[in-house]
Each structure stands twice: as structure tokens, then as C-alpha cells.
Amino acid sequence: MDLEAFEARIARGELIEADDFMPDAYRRQCLRLIVTHANSELMGALPEREWIPRAPGLARKLAVLSKVQDEIGHAQMIYRVAEDLAAPFAITRQDMLDDLIDGRAKFHNVFTYPAPSWADVGVIAWLVDGAALETQGALLKTSYAPYARILRRICAEEAVHLKHGEDIVLTLASGTPAQRAMLQDALARWWQPLMHFFGPPGESANGDAFRWRIRVATNEELRQGFLRKYVPKILRLGLVIPDPELRFDNASGNWLYGDPDWDEFWRVVRGGGQRTAERLSLRRLSRDEQGWVLAAMSPENAA
């Protein structure tokens, strides 16, 4: 089977399974997208993990704990999909984790920021997970079937995280002036990372990733979907979005916004995020200190 026949399958709306023929370029593009997603689930657990012992009350501690457990579970399931894709290139999960820890592979920008207050946890679970659901919801239509399959389960769990975040935010928004101020500060901190979340506008939708239906929505389409859903809710809570140029344009049906400093975005993408090095070193510590567990359990070490 050649490229032409493969593209004809894609054009007919068929889905590609792990053991189907696929061009190397398709495999590489899927792999990059999927590994970045797995890395992001793994790294995304860290800002919230810091809050498990500090969350107010047992119910909130349990909820944050279970969210962190979900994210790690997502990482496990997505790495598994990536392993099957990577097998012909002789790349293992260990290689993927090493690439992440050594800074050769990317994880999502949004997980390089600190979460200094409890309100940050609410904003992350509501708006960052809301943004993630926007991206992952679109990817349910990806042409790579094993990824789409696992995303159905992941999206269902992310939707729970979103409700959990919404609950924290609503509690703070209806709380004391100090709680409202804490929430407003957290929103101000997270607005720029949220605008960066989907990447810069103006990308071409004619590239291989779109032609092969690996991706189905552009950065800007995803960002507008997010803004349409969440800006009205944020404003309804009486919060101030820190962008004086943000307004709805009736003619285009889009939200217009000020430049969210794309130079900063690129600086973070290249590994310069506030917490990038610190969080990667935490992962390095896990790998280096827990490797012995796997070694001890291996059959060659059995008594």
C-alpha cells in the first residue's frame, strides 16, 4: 500500500489503526502530538500535586488527589498508545521519559507556571481543564483510531475535573472579599497562559496534520471556542479579565483580544518557563530514585 492509497482512505473518512499501513511522516506527526500530550498529563499533575496537603478540608483534598491520579492515569494510557506508534522506530516509553526529563521533548506551556494560591487550583481545574477539553474534544475526530479511543475516556474524566474547578471558583466567588480578591488575582495570573494555551493564530490549515486529519481544528478555532464558552461565565461572576482590548465582534462572531505577548509564549516553549527546570528536576528525581523498584521486581532478580 502506498501513500496514494493511504490518502484515499483518509479522504473516505476511514480511521487508521495501529497495525495499518501509514507513511512514516504520518506516524511521526501523530507520535509528536501524542507524546507531547502524554508529557503534558504527566507534568500537569505537578502544580496541583503541591496542593493535596494544603487543600481546604478533606473533601477538597480527596478531589485534588483524585484529579492528580486521573492525570497520571491519562499519561499512562497515552504513553501506551505512543509506544505502539513508536515501535517501528525502536523508541520505548523509557526513551520518551528520558527525552522529557532531559529537555529534548516538549510538554504544555501552561504547566510551567506556579500555583501560589488555592484559587489557582480552582482556575486551573476550571479554565485550564476547560481549554484542554476544547483541544481534546476536537481531537476525538482524529484519524488515528487508538488515540481517539483513549481520548473518549480522558474527555469524560476531564469533564469531571472541570466541574470540580467550577465548584471551587463558584465557592470563592460567593465568599468573603478576601476570597474574591484571591480569585481575581489567580485569574489575572492565568489569563495570559490561557491565551497562549492554543498556540499562536495564523497557522496554515493546509499542512499534512490537517490533510491527514491528525488535527481537525486550528489554534484560533479552538481559542475562539474557549472564549465563547468561558468569557461570558467569567464576566457573570463579576471578575475582571486583564485585557482591555477584549471584546465580542458581532460581524465575525469572534472575540477580539489584545496581543498576549507571543514572545513570552516562544520563550516558554523553548524551555524558559518559570517552573520548567524545577518540575523537570522533580521528574528526574522520581526516575532516579524509583528505578530500583522496577529492577527489584524483574524476574532475573527473583529469589
Partner: protein
Amino acid sequence: MADLEVFEVFGLERPGGTVCHAGSLQALGSDLAVVLAQELFCRRREYIELWVVPRPCVCVAPRAGEALGPAEPRSYRLGSGYRGTVEKWKLFGGEHGGDR
């Protein structure tokens, strides 16, 4: 480094249901695979039973690009192949089929 194996996980959602593919995992041996399967796929009580199968034990029929089975239509295997019974019942009285 120890050799991790790939396992396919199948689950039963409710009594009397059908076991369906739940996902896939990597583990060191079947005991740990079962523990990890419960951690990964049953955090919300999704299944009442799990089958955890080493991937090489799953034998897959070659995919045809369409549903498997005999190529030509074989209506005699399907209920829809016997729609004529409605007309035939009319020979035995009444306006409708045999169920009235």
C-alpha cells in the same frame, strides 16, 4: 531494566453484559498487570469484571476493511430474510400478521 509486557484489558460493565475492550497497559508480569488495570480503568467503578490478557495471546482475524463474514448477502441467516411471513399469516385469516 526489567522487561515490561503489554497487556490488553477487557471489561464487563454490568451483569449479563458483553465484555468489551477497555484499554491497554504495560506491566511487569500478570499480577501487577491486574493491579494496574484496576487502578487505570476502575477508578469510577466502571467495570464489575476485568480480563487482563497478555497481548501475544490475543489472536486477531485479518481485517478486511469491512465487516467480517461471508461475502455475498445471505438473507437466510437474518430475521429480515423472512418478512414474507406477514403475508403468509393472512392466508389464515385476519388483516394483520400472526401476532394479532
